[in-house]
């Protein structure tokens, strides 16, 4: 199998005094080009797992392989080149003084030639549709725009894997949808392997596979359709359940027969219209 990420029996704790492991015996295999969503409660260990993949924390046991290469102190910088990360808070990841300076930051770190840098920055800003904002300072950007800049910064580095750690959670609905469609484009058109950590069901439902983390453990690993049949349990798992889904639960409670599979807003409306016509 051409697994781009392979995690074997990974354990980690932030402090030796912690009795419980913050990541406990994680086994995970991600295929190249796959889109994996990670969901779970606040504090369940999602970000910690993402950091472990990027070598930002040092595991106490277990191994991480990225693109066939084992993550060690020596391979660390090489492996980080293959992974791009977009974080939650748009402000706290904006390093540069202006948009183009921020996109270039990662390239500067890699010691890329100036001409090449300019070309890559330009290209990346075009992909996220921010080319007209190249000289803007972060104060003059919305949260969604800042996240697009962060994505451009990742694109310019041409990684294989992109990890989004709740990158849409601080955005307004419009900004959120833009970022989600950008993630989708990156995965489906440009072929990046995507890991998105999220509480957002729209984002999770687009993924090829969803894993659920609780207390530092992977407690579920399934297709999004399967997971979303779980109805009410989703809220326990740590997802914000969307309106059609909640409506379905309420109808069920009132003894109305309803198909079990996942329905988005449109199919919900269709189904409602049809059942009203039938009566």
């Amino acid at each position: 199998m051409n697994g781009i990420i392979d995690i074997k029996d990974l354990c980690f704790r932030y402090s030796q005094e912690n009795e419980k492991l913050d990541l406990s015996h994680i086994d995970l295999h991600v295929n190249e080009g796959e889109w994996l969503a990670i969901i779970g409660h606040n504090g369940s260990g999602k970000s910690t797992l993402a950091k472990a993949i990027d070598g930002l924390i040092e595991p106490e046991a277990g191994e991480v392989f990225i693109d066939g290469e084992k993550l060690t102190d020596k391979s660390l910088w090489n492996i980080r080149k293959k992974i791009g990360m977009v974080f939650q808070n748009p402000d706290n990841q904006f390093v540069g003084a202006d948009v183009e300076g921020d996109v270039a930051f990662g390239l500067e770190n890699q010691g890329i030639e100036r001409e090449e840098m300019h070309a890559r920055v330009k290209k990346a800003l075009e992909v996220v549709d921010m080319q007209n904002f190249a000289k803007h300072e972060p104060v003059r950007l919305s949260g969604g725009q800042k996240q697009r800049v962060a994505i451009a910064g990742v694109l310019a580095l041409r990684p294989k894997i992109v990890i989004f750690d709740e990158s849409t959670s601080m955005l307004d609905p419009e900004g959120r949808l833009q970022i989600i469609s950008l993630i989708r484009q990156m995965n489906q058109i440009e072929g990046f392997t995507v890991i998105s950590i999220t509480h957002d069901i729209d984002e999770a439902s687009l993924a090829d596979r969803v894993i659920v983390i609780d207390d530092g453990q992977i407690i579920d690993d399934s297709l999004p359709e399967k997971l979303f049949q779980k109805g009410e349990q989703l809220i326990d798992i740590g997802l914000d359940v969307p309106y059609p889904q909640r409506l379905k639960l309420e109808l069920k409670k009132r003894g109305i027969q309803i198909p079990a599979e996942y329905m988005d807003e449109e199919s919900m409306v269709n189904w409602l219209c049809r059942s009203i016509l039938k009566n």
């Binding site: 950091k51 808070n89 990662g106």
Partner: protein
């Protein structure tokens, strides 16, 4: 505060704007040094003419420069008064206890005033025509030789540019926290000094906590993007030494010679 730190830069495409930030930085410092060569009317007139020429070339209205003097006006007046009342020599106009007003004291007062204003005009010219990031880049390049004696020039410049970048963010946050604390009944800027100092605490503590969180996030983000110190890094922005920089330098050399000749 907003006005003071930011929005200083005025977008433009004048000869001065287009100068290399390194050139501007260096000449601004150099200017402060040679201002102290002035010690008579001729030299001050020459210096003022030079500054006015640069102001004209920058295409920025004089009003902005005068605004730059305003925050320092009390300091300037205080120094001028010291000169006027405590200098000796020359014709004595007035005398009372330790105070004497002499004609050389008056001239010195005027000279000190001019010196302050000239320095402020010149540094205002630098900040009005150069973006903060250009200044920090320019400083880095100018100070690069210091890396030989193990001064972390690159890190200092990065710190400076990150600090500048976070000023507005933290300012926003301060406003938010102030509003939140006001909603809880804290009064800012009221009551006696002790009360005022006490009211700052509920502002500072959340601000510190959030700054530390931000710093940690930022460090993680930087590391994730491959930051591992200044070594082996390339620079996205280029600073180019151009013809007008060379001309400016020559102008300053001529100016220096003229000052040396004219001073008494």
């Amino acid at each position: 505060m907003d006005k003071m730190l930011l929005g200083r830069y005025i977008n433009g495409d004048s000869l001065i704007h287009r100068m290399d930030p390194r050139g501007k930085l260096f000449l601004s410092f150099y200017f402060i040094v040679i201002v102290f060569l002035c010690n008579n009317w001729e030299t001050y007139v020459l210096m003022t003419a030079m500054v006015m020429l640069f102001v004209k070339l920058s295409d920025i209205s004089l009003g902005f420069f005068i605004k730059g003097v305003r925050p320092l006006i009390w300091l300037i007046l205080f120094t001028v008064l010291l000169q006027i009342f405590f200098s000796s020599g020359g014709h004595v106009y007035w005398h009372w206890g330790p105070f004497t007003v002499t004609d050389s004291g008056m001239t010195n007062g005027v000279f000190v005033f001019c010196r302050f204003v000239l320095i402020i005009f010149m540094s205002t010219l630098l900040t009005l025509t150069t973006t903060p990031i250009e200044i920090s880049d320019g400083l880095e390049l100018l100070l690069k030789p210091l890396t030989k004696i193990k001064v972390p020039v690159y890190e200092i410049a990065l710190m400076l540019s990150i600090a500048l970048r976070f000023v507005p963010t933290l300012m926003d946050e301060t406003t938010k926290i102030m509003n939140a604390q006001r909603a809880r009944g804290v009064n800012f800027g009221e009551g006696n000094l002790i009360k005022q100092i006490k009211s700052v605490i509920p502002l500072l503590i959340p601000l510190f906590v959030s700054s530390f969180n931000r710093a940690e996030d930022l460090a993680t983000a930087m590391e994730a993007r491959g930051y591992h110190g200044g070594e082996g890094r390339t620079k996205y922005r280029k600073q180019e030494w151009k013809r007008n920089d060379t001309i400016a330098v020559i102008l300053f050399v001529v100016l220096t010679i003229a000052l040396v000749v004219l001073r008494k």
